[in-house]
């Protein structure tokens, strides 16, 4: 982060700032691919920023920059000191700093995506960092993962089950996953995708667009008008 910060000290209630969307999930479940797909889909209609929390490198940030889905300057990488879940849950200061830096440089923004480093099923975003969060699973972990629950699966605003194309190969039953997820998620939505095959990403994008609309409705201020969204 630069040292050229103004004295930004945003009110914690979220007025006048972008929706902050956390995307978490285990290593390799497709978080970065989902972020790329969202940027591609939402980029034309929204002002975006992305913060990545790589575990050991800036690989995710570099991947996104190379993918050309967003102005590279709008993608910021945060180091997490071996503890990706600490950076999104217990000590969110560096992520907040990164988000605010993006808003300061490019703001006003409509949506800032914070992608967590790959972690385990207990990792969730603090409500102090993410207004909404998506948890990404993939089928290759087995169809019993939703049944096992864990804070990520049970509490995320949206559960995405990715790599459905692999289900037959790993013997995962999507019906079982859907039923178990519904049972532990108290009615919150679940979407099945195969981002690699470009299947289902638009449904996630639609859900995100709805969230941004709602956020704008509640939190927009005259000083920071939000862009007209074209869902």
């Amino acid at each position: 982060m630069g040292t050229d910060h103004a004295d930004h000290h945003h009110a914690p209630d979220g007025h006048g700032r972008a929706l902050r969307l956390g995307i978490g999930g285990p290593v390799g479940s497709g978080k970065t691919a989902l972020v790329a797909a969202l940027c591609r889909t939402l980029g034309p209609s929204m002002r975006l920023g992305v913060v990545t929390n790589d575990i050991y490198t800036t690989e995710d940030a570099d991947f996104l920059r190379r993918a050309g889905v967003l102005d590279p300057a709008r993608i910021v990488a945060v180091e997490t000191g071996c503890c990706p879940h600490t950076a999104i849950r217990d000590d969110i200061a560096a992520n907040i700093d990164a988000v605010e830096t993006l808003e300061e440089r490019f703001g006003p923004l409509d949506l800032v995506i914070v992608e967590s480093g790959g972690d385990n099923l207990t990792a969730t975003f603090s409500r102090g960092l993410a207004d909404k969060q998506i948890f990404v699973l993939d089928v290759s972990g087995g169809d019993k993962v939703p049944r096992k629950g864990g804070p990520g699966v049970t509490s995320a605003d949206l559960l995405v089950v990715n790599k459905t194309d692999l289900a037959p190969m790993v013997g995962a039953d999507l019906t079982v996953m859907s039923r178990d997820a519904a049972a532990v998620r108290d009615g919150k939505p679940v979407l099945f995708t195969s981002i690699r095959e470009d299947r289902g990403a638009h449904t996630v994008a639609d859900w995100v667009t709805g969230m941004v609309h709602d956020w704008r409705h509640v939190h927009a201020t005259p000083e920071t008008p939000h862009a007209t969204l074209h869902p």
Partner: protein, 252 residues
């Protein structure tokens, strides 16, 4: 000791400290720190150099902030806050003691994050004044100001700064080398006397007169010129190597 010191010194204070290794990650990567023995030497060296400097700056900052607290402002005087010239001058003293740009960036990032969380935990016009004068202050400067606002005297601020200079690297080494966390805490315990001594000396350093006769906050930065300035050239090299490393887990 004020109980707020415990909050300030706690590694769980959500101010971004968990992602800073204070050079330990690069020292491990280069093989300079491989085991507990190396870590002991690393921590002792760090404490007696940059830790001592941080402690002195924190004590000076705490003393300055104390003169700016609403209670210290005479009736009819400015509401409080302010002190811009003092904050800028003290921060410049920290700059002059930090030759490495990477170390300055790390210190300012940590200072900015600490100041942000502290302004929500202990709201005060003094911290607003600091943020206005120096939005990203060096960490010891931020720590000293926060300590004062939380009710701690300069010695406590110095102690927290010195402690902070070793706990980050110690925790990082536990994570990176898989060291026995109990053994590492035993190491930290052996540093207690040095921590106390450094904090005591730092608090005894000359500070601007806390009760200036004219009632204006003291802006006598000359007394800060003599504050300790112990250099740690190896830490400078490690910090510069670290920011250029293609793979890293910690910010610094």
């Amino acid at each position: 000791m004020n109980a707020s010191l415990l909050l300030l010194a706690d590694s769980r204070l959500p101010a971004g400290g968990h992602a800073h290794s204070g050079g330990a990650e690069r020292a491990v990567a280069t093989g300079a720190v491989r085991d507990e023995h190396d870590l002991a030497a690393f921590l002792h060296g760090r404490l007696t150099t940059t830790g001592r400097v941080a402690a002195s700056l924190a004590a000076a900052s705490c003393a300055l902030a104390t003169t700016l607290l609403p209670d210290a402002t005479p009736a009819g005087g400015p509401a409080s806050g302010g002190g811009e010239a003092g904050w800028t001058a003290l921060d410049a003293e920290a700059d002059a003691r930090t030759a490495s740009p990477a170390q300055r960036a790390a210190a300012r990032t940590q200072g900015r994050l600490l100041l942000r969380v502290a302004r929500r935990i202990w709201p005060s016009p003094v911290l607003d004044g600091l943020a206005l004068a120096v939005p990203s202050p060096h960490h010891p400067v931020a720590l000293g100001a926060v300590a004062a606002v939380a009710g701690c005297p300069p010695r406590d601020a110095a102690l927290a700064a010195a402690y902070h200079s070793v706990t980050g690297p110690a925790t990082a080494a536990v994570r990176l080398l898989g060291l026995d966390p109990v053994a590492v805490h035993r190491l930290l315990a052996t540093l207690s006397d040095t921590l106390d001594a450094i904090a005591g000396t730092a608090a005894a350093s000359p500070h601007p007169d806390p009760t200036p006769p004219e009632g204006s906050p003291s802006e006598a930065p000359d007394v800060w010129a003599a504050l300790p300035a112990h250099a740690a050239p190896a830490l400078d090299l490690l910090a510069e190597q670290h920011v250029r490393a293609t793979t890293r887990l910690f910010v610094s």
